[in-house]
Symmetry: C2
Subunit: 112 residues, 2 copies
């Protein structure tokens, strides 16, 4: 049994939303305030804060309040567990396709 961080589910849930993926892509280019993000995505401050809080919970963003402005940047979460899980899933899928291919080959052999 492979052990994954309990944050694996949080990370997948965080990037399931297109706005949150957009926020990560934007923060990847440049740090931004909550106000910047709200303007960029045409959302209310409350709406953006909710998304940013979910990204923070998954370790994908961090925020810091300086004066009246809350600055957001990319967090330390690198989705490595998420990549590892997906890679394992794809490997499993390929193994199944290989077995199916072998079965079809054997069946063909019998018919000819």
């Amino acid at each position: 049994m492979v052990q994954y961080s309990p944050r694996l589910g949080d990370a997948f849930a965080a990037v399931a939303d297109p706005t949150r993926r957009g926020i990560l892509e934007r923060l990847g280019r440049k740090d931004a305030s909550i106000t910047d993000l709200a303007a960029a995505f045409g959302m209310t401050l409350t709406g953006i804060k909710k998304h940013v809080r979910i990204l923070e919970g998954a370790g994908l963003a961090t925020t810091e309040k300086v004066g009246r402005v809350r600055h957001c940047r990319l967090g330390p979460g690198q989705l490595t567990d998420a990549t590892a899980w997906i890679a394992r899933y794809q490997h499993m899928l390929e193994a199944r396709l290989d077995r199916l291919g072998e079965f079809l080959e054997r069946t063909k052999g019998r018919q000819s």
Copy 2:
């Protein structure tokens, strides 16, 4: 702007749940009926059906009713878009770390 399948969000949402990841891992080893899955995960038939429906919606599982039994197997969805998105995110993160490293090197150079 990279174009991803509209199913990208569905795929991430589908694998955000530990039971659904468990179902995919189990189907990776062997096809199973809804009843098998309910027994394996200690859930009601209704609970398992709900999870399987979400996996079906994301193309990660398919089901077929034969007589009174609904058989489940892995679907064609291979999470390739999900992997591609994560890879791009990690690349961006590394680029930021590189820039931070260069900045620190320059700062150190000035101080010595």
